[in-house]
Symmetry: C2
Subunit: 197 residues, 2 copies
């Protein structure tokens, strides 16, 4: 099973992190991102969005880091990380949307500006960060994990760009519950880091 | 089962549309959005995000329109609209992320500016729309539906803000396959409209 990967991408790291925690072997294929390898064939044929990560598992080809987490959890990790019942699945799903929208466009995008020079509206990324991080901190003041009172793919999806927020000039100093949650994740058996974490 | 709802919200409409197509009864609770009812107790206690829709089904309370679709599909609609196998589920999930991010922040946000006077960066919403709509049109040139060659919650999630795009000054005239897909959705048994569609 191949993961088309970039070591500095938080979206790719979501997948590597979950695979490590759940003991799922991946063949990591490094993509030459600066050369635009993901924008040309053959990768653009695997993902017309022109983005990584891409997962290739036999005939199955998936884009979107959240969808890849769902696939790996359901196919290779039983009920632990993403339960099959409606309530449990939807509870996790709430956080996958938060990851795809508020986190990606908040701290994730702030980091793209500061670390990689993307031409995005930095003030907008800071506004979005200032809205979502207090909500997550308040949630984590009452819960050890984002969903279901145990580690799930919700944590794997939200963790990377929250933990990397300082690389985008977004401080976590006002969010003690987020900082404690980050330490809990780092202490999970099998945890793997990435540059900046 | 209560849906806290706003008739003009495409996110609320996603849920009403899917419930209608799948024959799931909902008690619609109209929220006084202009008066900020969703920002105050009791609704802010149901969803600290301060957003609607909110679904309340006995003890289950869910925010996020994508998560609500997952819940309703898994609990009340069998395998048809969201299959339980890893590949099928992840294939649909790709489009739920697209809905939460690219569609929400593209044509969805453009409409918030033009129709409701939100102070957002209109040029950014148009750039995001101009990126995602051609990708969707190209996909629909090869497929009748977004995922699994049949109607799924992927279509329900993406449809509202794509069909409402002209209300944000985003024309669909260059996207014939999207326009045909809109007509296919409108022809589904049980389809319900919303203002602007």
């Amino acid at each position: 099973m191949k993961l088309y990967d970039l070591s500095l991408s938080g979206n790719c790291y979501k997948v590597r992190l979950f695979a490590a925690l759940a003991g799922i072997p991946l063949d990591i294929v490094a993509v030459d991102f600066l050369a635009g390898e993901h924008k040309r064939p053959p990768l653009i044929d695997l993902n017309p969005w022109g983005e990584i990560p891409i997962l290739e598992d036999g005939e199955v080809v998936l884009r979107d880091s959240q969808a890849i987490l769902v696939y790996l959890a359901r196919r290779y990790a039983g009920e632990t990380w993403l339960p099959g019942d409606a309530t449990g699945m939807a509870t996790v799903m709430q956080w996958l949307s938060t990851s795809a929208n508020e986190i990606q466009n908040g701290p994730g995008a702030a980091r793209l500006v500061d670390k990689f020079g993307y031409q995005l509206d930095k003030a907008d990324t800071l506004r979005r960060s200032a809205r979502i991080l207090p909500l997550i901190d308040a949630h984590l003041s009452r819960h050890a994990w984002l969903a279901l009172e145990r580690p799930t793919i919700a944590d794997c999806a939200v963790f990377p760009y929250v933990a990397l927020a300082p690389e985008g000039g977004v401080s976590l100093s006002d969010f003690p519950h987020i900082r404690q949650w980050i330490e809990r994740i780092k202490a999970l058996p099998g945890f793997v880091p990435m540059p900046g974490i």
